[in-house]
């Protein structure tokens, strides 16, 4: 028996992750400084950790309801309503998941059947395409452009819709580009969708991280859009809670019920200690005006400006991202491909950044640099990148 042949073709033929490949490269270089992470540098605020520690002491070590702790679902409902004007019922329209990652997978598996097409603006987060394919669907990428600040335009959307289109993934604020959708952009998208039967999976995990006078607008808050939208989010980015593995989805009760069906057999529930921590995060946030988020946000914003200015000064043209914690400069003027740039930057200056093409073919010609690092670390990395740029930018 050839074990390799026993692997399901969908999994076997799935291309290896560009991020993973790069991680292995970086791992071999000693003294490398990295701008390669997709998670906050902040450690989870102490009161959140403390709540979880206390719960363990009190014996909270059991399963929860498949849907998640009722108290947490109520907090999520209140939070979504309070922050983003999105109203879903905690009783039957919200599910607590193991990170936004699981929510993405559940939502896709709940709605996609063989042959369905799912529209995915690109460049974007790496898990949409594999999850669509594992659900039996087909990804139809929609290329977004630096000239449009990587927004999804109504026209590009209209051109890709076919009778088989089942859903649109709306990945804003965007990882890796930092692009956001303004209300007017979303209204144009809603207009296109209005007369269709297309669902929207809105990945809003970076919703709290928007900058300048841009604040996040959820497409679910637009008239008539709540029913067809599944809002996916979590605690990883806003509350610096990546390792806790807790997120959620909110949407039409039939979709959420379908997601719960899968979740109950595959996951049962998200870890209780993480759900308790998440409850504390939202409860304290509601009471103190989201002080944790504001504090981290202020720092990200300063670093963001430092990054944008530094890259533009180096001749690596960088549009000003209004969301998340990445900059996505163009490396065109070096004449290198993304892979070549990243590999040489790593070899020559020992700085790790992620090639843009890891986020879809249209990311070619760009690099993703995270600013979830201290000013000290950023300064050192920027110094090295500058030496590299001086040598290669033409």
């Amino acid at each position: 028996m050839n074990i390799k042949d026993m692997i399901s073709p969908i999994i076997r033929d799935m291309p290896p992750s560009g991020i993973r490949r790069f991680f292995d490269l970086v791992d071999e270089i000693e003294g490398a400084v990295s701008l390669g992470v997709g998670e906050p540098d902040f450690i989870t605020p102490w009161h959140i950790r403390e709540a979880s520690i206390y719960s363990l002491e009190e014996g909270y070590t059991h399963y929860t309801s498949n849907w998640g702790l009722p108290g947490l679902r109520r907090e999520i409902a209140r939070y979504l309503s309070h922050r983003f004007n999105v109203d879903y019922n905690p009783e039957d329209q919200i599910i607590v998941t193991v990170g936004a990652s699981e929510a993405i997978d559940l939502a896709l598996r709940a709605i996609v059947t063989t042959g369905d097409e799912v529209l995915v603006p690109e460049p974007s987060y790496v898990s949409y395409m594999p999850c669509v394919e594992m659900a039996g669907g087909r990804v139809v990428p929609i290329v977004t452009k630096a000239d449009d600040e990587f927004r999804l335009t109504a026209q590009a959307l209209r051109e890709t819709i076919t009778p088989r289109t089942k859903a649109l993934i709306l990945p804003y604020p965007n990882n890796p580009t930092g692009g956001v959708m303004l209300r007017s952009d979303l209204e144009a998208i809603a207009d296109v969708l209005e007369d269709t039967d297309i669902l929207v999976l809105s990945d809003e995990i970076y919703a709290e991280l928007t900058y300048g006078d841009t604040t996040h607008v959820s497409i679910a808050s637009l008239p008539g859009m709540a029913e067809r939208t599944v809002v996916i989010s979590g605690f990883s980015k806003a509350f610096a809670m990546t390792g806790w593995r807790v997120g959620y989805a909110a949407g039409h009760k039939d979709i959420i019920a379908a997601m719960v069906k899968i979740h109950q057999y595959t996951m049962l529930c998200a870890p209780i200690m993480s759900q308790i921590a998440a409850t504390e995060a939202l409860r304290a946030g509601y009471n103190d005006g989201y002080e944790d988020i504001k504090r981290m946000h202020r720092e990200y914003d300063r670093r963001r400006r430092l990054m944008v200015k530094s890259f533009n000064d180096m001749g690596l043209e960088c549009f000003e991202p209004r969301g998340a914690f990445y900059v996505f400069p163009s490396i065109q003027r070096t004449g290198m491909s993304s892979d070549e740039f990243c590999e040489r930057l790593l070899q020559e200056q020992k700085v790790a950044v992620v090639p843009g093409n890891a986020f879809g073919a249209s990311g070619e010609g760009f690099i993703r640099c995270s600013y979830a690092y201290s000013i000290d670390a950023l300064t050192e990395a920027l110094k090295r990148i500058k030496v590299f740029a001086e040598k290669y930018v033409r």
Binding site: F23, A32, E39
Partner: protein, 163 residues
């Protein structure tokens, strides 16, 4: 305080090595304006000094520190300020706070040995005419100073690259 001043103070209070150029980029404000603002904050005595927080316990310096609760008689017209100054001028005094509650001044002092501290209390502090009484508590270990955890074992445990 303007928003710019507050932002600058927050950045410098975290790390005073951040340069005016960096602050200028971080806040999107002209570098000249940043420099002028810092200068003005210094001139107004808002920024007092740029110093370094050192965990002396990790050095071979020998020292003993104590927190002394001091009850005093406030002076007509001048309240506590004069007596506070009489105390804080001693170089061995590290900090002096006026407190609400059971006592008036919280004074921290440092010396090489416990004897130094005992000497300071007996010979310098207690004889001051406005001092009514003192209670000396030796500091056994400093965990957190000025908002900074001295021996912080929390590290960056992140993977070098992640999606």
């Amino acid at each position: 305080m303007t928003e710019l001043e507050n932002n600058i103070l927050e950045i410098l209070s975290d790390d005073h090595r951040v340069t005016a150029e960096q602050i200028s980029a971080m806040l999107d404000v002209d570098v000249k304006e940043v420099e002028a603002t810092i200068k003005a904050l210094e001139d107004r005595g808002v920024i007092v000094k740029y110093n370094t927080i050192i965990n002396w316990e990790k050095t071979d310096r020998e020292f003993v520190a104590a927190l002394i609760e001091v009850k005093v008689v406030p002076q007509r017209d001048q309240g506590f300020d004069v007596i506070a100054e009489r105390i804080y001028r001693f170089p061995e005094v590290q900090s002096v706070y006026l407190m609400s509650g059971d006592y008036d001044l919280a004074v921290t002092v440092e010396g090489k040995t416990m004897k130094d501290i005992a000497y300071f209390v007996a010979e310098r502090l207690s004889p001051l005419e406005s001092v009514l009484s003192t209670a000396t508590h030796f500091i056994l270990k400093k965990y957190k100073v000025e908002g900074i955890i001295l021996d912080d074992h929390e590290q960056d445990h992140r993977l070098a690259v992640s999606p």
